[in-house]
């Protein structure tokens, strides 16, 4: 894992326009934006942690808690919505016993709604840890989750 110092060393000090790239790098390295990171970034950019948190929390791709072992993103774009990705999301929520945006208590699963995964021809779509699964329906979803649980 890349240390905070070496991430920050890539960016000149006190230039706030680097804030988003730094946050993205931190998330890449740690999986989410840690409290420690915010303090370090604050010192590097001479920026209050509140400002950093306020900015970071605006953007949906930046997160403040770790993902589950299996991170599900279910497409909820317009096209997928028309072919009922909504009910796939609620089914996933039901099986994982979490709401979209949360991590299950055992840390196995996390679930997120995605705006559009960009392959409308093959919807409904979902990705598990970035790997695409196309033409999902409730039974394939149940199967996918069951397989992961057993593995």
């Amino acid at each position: 894992m890349e240390g905070l110092e070496s991430i920050l060393a890539r960016y000149p000090k006190y230039q706030r326009d680097n804030l988003i790239p730094i946050l993205q790098d931190v998330q890449e390295a740690y999986g989410y934006i840690t409290e420690e990171a915010i303090i370090y970034i604050g010192r590097h950019l001479l920026l209050s942690t509140t400002k950093i948190y306020g900015t970071a929390s605006f953007y949906s791709n930046l997160r403040f808690s770790s993902k589950g072992k299996y991170h599900f993103e279910i497409c909820h774009g317009t096209s997928c919505h028309l072919i009922e990705s909504g009910s796939i999301i609620s089914e996933a929520e039901r099986i994982m016993k979490i709401k979209a945006g949360q991590v299950s208590r055992d840390g196995m699963f996390s679930l997120e709604k995605s705006a559009c995964l960009g392959a409308c021809g093959a919807g409904p779509l979902l990705t598990i840890n970035g790997e695409y699964h196309e033409n999902i329906n409730i039974s394939t979803l149940t199967q996918l989750i069951a397989n992961l649980k057993n593995s």
Partner: protein, 574 residues
């Protein structure tokens, strides 16, 4: 350049480059605002100030749109009114319906807007955001459910004060004003200055109230309630009664305090004198030894908290003297014990301050003696007015009274503590004597007076030139520190006040929309500096006589350090 525009079918003059709102206001036409802050650039968030401009299909926010020559504006057309009313209704739809229980009832901008727009029906129903009440911080309570997201607290904290405790978090319907990771305020970098309370249009931010508890104490015969009152309170409290600022009501205030049951009423001004004298002595020592300079004042608890959080390396340079409130608190209990044999546990010592941070200061761990607090309760000016109302007292009616002795005498310099620059001026008067052995020829230091955020002066004292700067708000301090670091400026005394203008504009003062209120409060204080003949702390006979005894006695009891302030690095999320 002036040009003419048409507003509501009448011609008015507008200046090139100004906003529509400013042109309207100068011509006496008012439009409602919520997020607008006169001293800062507009954000255009609340849309309450929208007006109709001929030729534009949308309504235009007057606060952030430059005025142009061709404009024909309608400020109160049915279309505008409908839009504003809907906006208010939308805010109300996400606002707790508990006005009668709200601290800002009858004094709330949202309430006022609703009433002005004649909102008489609940048009929008639905879910309200329920957010957690934060009572963690000693002086400030935050109720985010009542927040209308105008952003004024965010902006005053970061753009005027320079701390940035609050920021908008999340987006869309989840937008909220919050701290880093939504942590409670006591773990945040808040310096408790309370300026956010003054800015908040609703009851989302308010001081932690303690006066209702006080009522019981006042009527408990077992307990001996005493009170000290800061000079900045008496020049502002009358505004709570609708009286225009500009007059000092100290004598009447003392009388009223006795009426509601305080056994002794003291003037914190006496503490100011001791503080000024001791700071001057300390500074003279440091100048002679050329160490720990520049010296900083430590009488503003918000500034002290800021230093402990952000500038731990500067802590040794802070004056080691306790603040006037805490000095007085210690002295009051000690004196009542030695002179009247009242045990400290029985005494309930209250102080009235223009400040919210003083509530925090009174709770600091070192501010106790044998496990008894030096000051038991701190009220803000606003709370005191409420206490008077609760007791059915109109303090403006009655005869003036004096403060109780032995702390009744004070110099006029003590009054100056209320204004940014006043501490420095007061200290200079005594410093001159300390350094040279002669009185300062001209005690008034005009260069360090007024409401400017930063004022400095260099004064020759014998063969030594003393450099003094007074800054209010830490944003100014940050600038000054940079200059010092770069070697551009050299100072011996730096006076820091957290609130813009000093204590007369403290976070505990009455809410006011009157732009001239501050100037008037300031004038009342400067006026009183003219009145008396004792103009310097070191010439206060009270200190010379009565006080020496007590201090000596304390020294014998190995407790002399109980007058010394201690500071330590504070770890919070910065």
């Amino acid at each position: 350049m002036l040009f003419t525009i048409e507003v509501n079918n009448k011609q008015i003059k507008a200046l090139k480059g100004e906003t529509i709102l400013s042109a309207l206001n100068r011509n006496g036409i008012s439009v409602p605002t919520l997020c607008y802050m006169p001293k800062l650039s507009p954000t255009g968030a609340c849309r309450m100030c929208v007006v109709e401009i001929e030729g534009k299909s949308d309504l235009i926010p007057s606060c952030s749109f430059p005025v142009e020559e061709w404009m024909k504006i309608r400020t109160h057309s049915p279309r505008v009114i409908k839009a504003r009313k809907t906006l208010v209704e939308l805010l109300l739809a996400n606002h707790p319906d508990d006005c009668l229980y709200c601290v800002r009832n009858t004094n709330c901008e949202l309430q006022k807007l609703a009433s002005e727009h004649n909102v008489r029906e609940r048009r929008f129903h639905g879910r309200k955001s329920v957010l957690k009440l934060d009572q963690s911080c000693a002086p400030i309570v935050r109720d985010p459910s009542k927040c209308v997201l105008c952003g004024r607290c965010v902006r005053v904290c970061s753009e005027i004060i320079g701390v940035s405790t609050f920021e908008f978090t999340n987006k869309g319907i989840d937008t909220a004003v919050g701290t880093t990771y939504g942590k409670p305020l006591n773990l945040s970098n808040c310096i408790t200055c309370g300026q956010c309370i003054l800015e908040c249009p609703t009851g989302a931010l308010y001081e932690k109230e303690s006066f209702s508890l006080l009522q019981e104490t006042l009527h408990n015969t077992e307990i001996y309630p005493v009170i000290q009152c800061s000079p900045s309170v008496s020049v502002a409290i009358a505004e709570e009664y609708g009286i225009k600022a500009g007059k000092d009501f100290q004598g009447l205030l003392f009388a009223a305090l006795r009426k509601i049951g305080f056994r002794k009423v003291y003037d914190t001004g006496f503490g100011n004198d001791i503080n000024a004298l001791n700071v001057a002595t300390e500074l003279a020592d440091r100048i002679r030894n050329n160490e720990k300079l520049p010296m900083f004042n430590s009488c503003c608890p918000a500034w002290v908290k800021y230093a402990e959080q952000y500038l731990p390396e500067l802590l040794p340079q802070l004056s080691q003297q306790r603040s006037p409130q805490q000095l007085m608190g210690r002295l009051i209990k000690q004196n009542l014990f030695t002179a009247n044999s009242i045990s400290p546990e029985k005494i309930f010592s209250v102080s009235v301050m223009p400040c919210t941070a003083k509530k925090f200061e009174a709770q600091r761990q070192e501010m106790t003696f044998n496990s008894v607090s030096d000051v038991d309760m701190v009220l803000t000016t606003r709370e005191l007015a409420k206490l008077f109302r609760l007791n059915g007292i109109d303090f403006t009616a009655g005869e003036s009274e004096l403060a109780d002795s032995p702390f009744g005498i004070k110099s006029t310099a003590s009054r100056l503590y209320g204004i940014s620059g006043g501490v420095a001026e007061s200290v200079l008067r005594s410093l001159h004597f300390q350094l040279t052995g002669i009185e300062m020829p001209q005690v008034k230091v005009p260069k360090i007076r007024g409401l400017k955020a930063r004022k400095d002066v260099r004064i020759q004292m014998g063969d030594f030139e003393v450099g003094v700067i007074a800054v209010s708000t830490v944003i100014q301090l940050q600038q000054v520190l940079k200059e010092i670091e770069s070697g551009k400026s050299v100072y011996h005394l730096i006076e820091v006040m957290a609130c813009p203008g000093g204590c007369i504009n403290g976070g505990g003062q009455p809410f006011t929309k009157d732009e001239n209120a501050l100037t008037a409060r300031m004038k009342a204080i400067y006026d009183s500096d003219e009145k008396d003949s004792v103009k310097s702390a070191h010439k206060n006979p009270g200190i010379n006589e009565a006080m020496r005894l007590i201090i000596k006695e304390l020294e014998g009891n190995e407790t002399h350090n109980k007058f010394v302030a201690t500071f330590e690095k504070r770890s919070v999320l910065l």
